[in-house]
C-alpha cells in the first residue's frame, strides 16, 4: 500500500464521485462511532448517561469517571481501580515481547543463513503452530505452569506469551532475512566474524523495519490477549483486559457506564497510540501475518 498507483480508478462523472465520498464518509462515521461513544460518555456523569442521549457530547465535562477507573473503582474484592492491572500488563508485555522478538530473530537468522537438513520441517511446524486454537493447550499448560510453580504468576504469563508468539516472530524474521543477501554473511565469515558476530554486527543493524513490525505485532497481541490472562493469571497477576472484563461484567452493584468507558479507553490506549504513531509498521505486520510462505 506504500506506492499509490491508482490508474485503475473508475473514470466517472462528479455525481458518482459525490456518491463515493458520501459512502466513504458514512463508513468513517461508522468506524469512529464506538470510539466517540466511549470518549464522550466517559466524560459524563452517570445521571446524564442514564437520562440522555448517548451520542451527544457531554453537557459538562467531568474527569471523575477517569479517576474512578484508574485508581478507585472496585474490581474483584478491592477498590484499586485499573492501575495495578495496567502495571501487571506492562510487566508482562515488555519481557514477553523482547524475548519472543529476540528468539524470532535468531531463528530467522539460522533458518535462512545456516540451513541444515530438517530446517524446513522445523519451520513448517512453527508456522502451523501460529494457527492452533489456543483452547487446545489450556489444560496441559495449566498443569505445566503448576508443576513449574508459575501458576497464577506474571512469570507464567510471560512464558506462555513468549512460546506462543515464537511462530509469528520466526515467520517475520525468516521472510525478511530470506531477502537479505547471503553474500554479506559470507564476506563477514571471510573477515573472520563468528556466528554471533555476523548476527549482531551485520544482520541486526539492517533489521530495523522488521524489528519494529515484530515488536508492534507482539505488543498488540500480548497486550490485547484475554484467554491466557483469564486462564492463567492469579490474584495479583491479572492483566488489564481481564480486569476490565471483571469490572464491566461483575453482577454486583450499580453499572457505572462512564467508568466502564473510561476503563475501556485506558485498556485500549497503549495499542491505539502505537497504531497512530507507527501505523505503517502495524499494517505491514498484519499483512505478513495474513500472507504466508
Amino acid at each position: 500500500m506504500s506506492h499509490p498507483s491508482q490508474e485503475n480508478a473508475i473514470n466517472a462523472g462528479s455525481l458518482t464521485r459525490i456518491l463515493i465520498y458520501t459512502l466513504l464518509i458514512f463508513f468513517v462515521i461508522y468506524y469512529l462511532l464506538p470510539l466517540w461513544v466511549m470518549v464522550s460518555n466517559s466524560l459524563k456523569t452517570l445521571d446524564e448517561i442514564r437520562g440522555g442521549d448517548m451520542l451527544a457530547p457531554p453537557k459538562a465535562i467531568t474527569l471523575e469517571p477517569w479517576r474512578q477507573a484508574w485508581s478507585q473503582t472496585q474490581i474483584g474484592v478491592e477498590a484499586t481501580g485499573l492501575k495495578p492491572y495496567f502495571i501487571n500488563s506492562i510487566i508482562m508485555v515488555v519481557p514477553a515481547v523482547f524475548l519472543s522478538t529476540f528468539l524470532g530473530a535468531l531463528n530467522g537468522y539460522v533458518m535462512t543463513k545456516w540451513e541444515f537438513p530438517g530446517v524446513n520441517l522445523i519451520f513448517g511446524l512453527m508456522l502451523l503452530a501460529c494457527f492452533i486454537p489456543f483452547q487446545i493447550v489450556l489444560i496441559p499448560m495449566a498443569r505445566i505452569l503448576g508443576m513449574l510453580g508459575l501458576a497464577g504468576t506474571l512469570g507464567g504469563l510471560i512464558l506462555v506469551h513468549t512460546v506462543y508468539g515464537l511462530g509469528f516472530t520466526t515467520l517475520f524474521f525468516r521472510n525478511y532475512y530470506a531477502a537479505f543477501p547471503t553474500e554479506l554473511v559470507r564476506a563477514a565469515q571471510i573477515d573472520g566474524a563468528t556466528f554471533f558476530q555476523v548476527f549482531w554486527r551485520i544482520l541486526i543493524p539492517s533489521s530495523g523495519p522488521i524489528i519494529v513490525v515484530t515488536i508492534i505485532w507482539q505488543f498488540t497481541n500480548v497486550w490485547n490477549d484475554f484467554l491466557f490472562g483469564a486462564s492463567f493469571s492469579g490474584y495479583d497477576s491479572t492483566p488489564i483486559t481481564v480486569a476490565l472484563n471483571n469490572l464491566v461484567n461483575s453482577s454486583t452493584g450499580v453499572k457505572e457506564y462512564n467508568v466502564h468507558f473510561a476503563g475501556a479507553i485506558l485498556a485500549a490506549l497503549p495499542t491505539l497510540i502505537v497504531y497512530i504513531v507507527s501505523g505503517r509498521y502495524f499494517v505491514r505486520g498484519l499483512m505478513a501475518g495474513a500472507v504466508k510462505g
Binding site: 553474500e183 559470507r186 563477514a188 571471510i190 573477515d191 573472520g192 558476530q197 543493524p205
Partner: protein
C-alpha cells in the same frame, strides 16, 4: 603468496553432484580464471576454495597447507563478491577495517592499512560514506579494498565486474590486471565472460556440468581447444563448426563441405593416423572467423592459405571489421573481412582460409582429432 592445488575435488548437494573430480593447479603469482556457462560449478568451486562450502571429497591446498575443514577466515584468502557484499550499515572505512577489528589489530595499524589501500585505489575521499551513497564503480573499488587490506595468499573474485556497465567493466578489468602485476598475488577469478578470461588470465580453466573440460594458457584454450564445447565457448563471435566429410583423393586427405545451393568446396586436411581413422566419415571442421578473410586481408605470415569461392548472403559491418555470412555445411558461417573489403551480396566471393588455424573434431565424442 602461495600456489593453489585442487586435487580430485568433488562436491554434492544432497544427491546432486555439482563438481565431479576437479584437478587443477595454479602457480604462485598466477591468475587463474574459472569460466563456463551458468550452472557449470565454477562459483561452487570458488566457494569450496574459500571454505564457504564444505567439500565432499578431495583436497585443496594453499601453499603446502591442506585447508580442509579450516574456517574461511583462517585460510589466508580474501574474496570479492559479485554483489560486492558491502556491509550496508558501516562506512567505507568500517567495511575495510571490519576484518582487522575482528582479528584484534590495533587502531593505529588499522588506520595505516586503510590509508595504504585507499591510496592504491584512490578512494580516500569516500572513506566516511555509506555504501548506499556510492556508485557501482566506487562500490567495486571498496570491495577490492576490503580484500586488499588483508594481504592474503590468494585472492578470490566471484564475477566481480558483472554488475557494471560495459565501459566501466573495461576500465576495472585493466585496473585488476594492473593490480595483479603490481602485487603479484595469486588470483582465482570466476567469470562467465570469455573476453575477461582471455584478457586477464595466465591460466584458464573451462568448466561444464561439474567437469573440468580444459585448463591451459589463454593461447592454448583459444587456439587448441580439446573439444567442441571449449571451441564453441571461447571467442566472440565463436568458432565456426562446420559439418564436413573426410575423403581421400590422389593420396591426399581433404574435407568436403556443402555450400550454397548444390555447390560444395573442399579443403586439404592434415594426414595423421587419427584423421585417417575417420576416413569417409563425418568430421567437424573448426575455424575461427578471423581465419576466414577476404584474400587481401589474409595473414601473410601463415604458410598455408587456401582460397575458395563462397556465397555471401549477409554482411554485418562492425566498425573495425565486416562480418560476412556464408552457408557452409548447412549452417551460417562467419568470415571476418576488412572493413573496407568489397562485398557483393548474393554472389560468390573468394574467401581465404588460414589452414594453420584449422582444427578438427569427432562429431560423435566431440573430442579433438589431432
Amino acid at each position: 603468496m602461495a600456489s593453489l592445488t585442487i586435487d580430485k575435488l568433488t562436491k554434492s548437494f544432497g544427491s546432486v553432484e555439482v563438481l565431479k573430480g576437479i584437478d587443477l593447479e595454479i602457480e604462485d603469482g598466477g591468475f587463474l580464471v574459472l569460466v563456463g556457462p551458468s550452472g557449470c560449478g565454477k562459483s561452487t568451486l570458488l566457494n569450496c576454495i574459500a571454505g564457504l562450502e564444505k567439500t565432499t571429497s578431495g583436497e585443496i591446498r594453499i601453499g603446502d597447507r591442506n585447508v580442509e575443514g579450516l574456517h574461511p577466515s583462517k585460510r589466508d584468502i580474501a574474496m570479492v563478491f559479485q554483489s560486492y557484499a558491502l556491509y550496508p550499515n558501516m562506512t567505507v572505512r568500517g567495511n575495510i577495517s571490519f576484518g582487522m577489528e575482528i582479528r584484534g589489530i590495533d587502531k593505529d595499524e588499522q588506520q595505516k592499512a586503510i590509508d595504504e589501500v585507499a591510496d592504491m585505489l584512490q578512494i580516500n575521499e569516500l572513506l566516511d560514506r555509506k555504501p548506499s551513497q556510492l556508485s557501482g564503480g566506487q562500490r567495486q573499488r571498496v570491495a577490492m579494498g576490503r580484500a586488499l587490506v588483508r594481504h592474503p595468499q590468494v585472492f578470490l573474485f566471484d564475477e566481480p565486474l558483472s554488475n557494471l556497465d560495459a565501459k566501466l567493466r573495461v576500465d576495472m578489468r585493466t585496473e585488476i590486471k594492473r593490480l595483479h602485476s603490481r602485487m603479484g598475488t595469486t588470483i582465482v577469478y570466476v567469470t562467465h565472460d570469455q573476453i575477461e578470461a582471455l584478457t586477464l588470465a595466465t591460466k584458464i580453466a573451462v568448466l561444464q556440468d561439474g567437469y573440468l573440460q580444459q585448463a591451459g594458457s589463454p593461447d592454448e584454450i583459444y587456439n587448441n581447444p580439446v573439444n567442441i564445447f571449449v571451441a564453441d565457448f571461447m571467442g566472440s563471435p565463436s568458432m565456426n563448426l562446420i559439418d564436413s566429410t573426410l575423403v581421400e583423393r590422389d593420396g591426399q586427405l581433404e574435407i568436403q563441405i556443402a555450400g550454397h545451393g548444390g555447390s560444395s568446396i573442399s579443403l586439404p586436411a592434415p594426414d595423421t593416423p587419427d584423421m585417417r581413422a575417420h576416413l569417409n566419415g563425418p568430421v567437424v571442421f573448426g575455424i575461427r572467423p578471423e581465419a576466414m578473410t577476404d584474400p587481401d586481408g589474409a595473414d601473410r605470415t601463415s604458410p598455408h592459405i587456401e582460397t575458395r569461392d563462397c556465397f555471401i548472403e549477409v554482411s554485418q559491418p562492425a566498425g573495425s571489421d565486416t562480418f560476412a555470412l556464408t552457408p557452409l555445411g548447412g549452417k551460417e558461417c562467419i568470415a571476418r573481412f576488412r572493413a573496407d573489403a568489397k562485398i557483393e551480396l548474393g554472389a560468390f566471393t573468394p574467401i581465404s582460409f588460414n589452414m594453420t588455424k584449422a582444427v578438427f573434431f569427432d562429431p560423435q565424442t566431440t573430442n579433438r582429432i589431432r
